[in-house]
Amino acid sequence: MTANQLMFILFSAMIVVFSVLTVTSRRILRAAIFLLFVLVSTAGLYFMLNYQFMAAVQLTLYAGGIVVLFIFSILLTSHISQKFEPVGWKKSVFSAIAVTAGAILAIITILDYNFSATTQAAQEVNMKLIGKSLLATGEDGFVLPFEVISILLIAAMVAAIVVAKKGGPGKTQSQILNN
């Protein structure tokens, strides 16, 4: 067994175990931390595939940004030692049956399909190439999705500020508590 295979087994075991714990943990803060482990192991898989830039993006944006956002909002919205009540057995059993059936179907399809790789030589992915392709027009250029995603990010930023802003016509917290 090579070191590569060993690393893959380690990362995939971490991903499977921690994603199951993320969706079953009854303490919400622990669920967020397990999600962090899943995202970091995914970054490790990207390193194994030789996409260093994507692994860095995964670490900074997902593990560094989104999980911190999650933890902040968890601390804002729920008590830290609060435990969820367990899921009803009917719901969990039927969801598990549906999910297992879907997973088995997908895995059978994957194993049945014959993937054929190209014979062309692999391309070295460096930062210069990524930057040039992001802003290039033409066949290997991605300038249109780049511009669309920048408009989306601006819109999301404005929307997040407007929605989360205090005030507005809604009831305040003290009014609800008084009722």
Partner: protein, 105 residues
């Protein structure tokens, strides 16, 4: 590079992660944990894109850029969703999906 790991292993791993996310989406009752399940689903799709790009089309960069854009969409989605969740918490003092039903009537 990547000797001894077939493409199918990556795909099966992503499939398991995807359906674990779907299970969380079906069983969870807290808005934030539902959002976490959605993040799991999006992340598993990203693994698929990257593995396809590396194994089947190593001379192109389409899969890498697609997962870059998926990450950007996931980040903005999480920001807007958390803003909405905080607003809901301000109105209802809970983020349990079964208690937040005022707009339904």
């Amino acid at each position: 590079m990547n000797t001894g790991i077939p493409l199918e292993y990556f795909l099966i791993l992503a499939t398991i992660m995807f359906f674990v996310g779907v299970y969380g989406f079906l069983t969870r009752r807290n808005l934030l944990t539902i959002l976490m399940s959605v993040e799991l689903i999006l992340n598993s799709v990203n693994i698929n894109f990257m593995a396809f790009n590396r194994y089947l089309f190593p001379h192109k960069l389409e899969g890498m850029f697609f997962s870059l854009f998926v990450i950007a969409v996931a980040a903005s989605e999480a920001a807007v969703a958390i803003a909405i969740i905080i607003n809901i918490y301000r109105r209802f003092i809970t983020i349990n999906v079964e208690d937040v039903d005022e707009m339904k009537h």
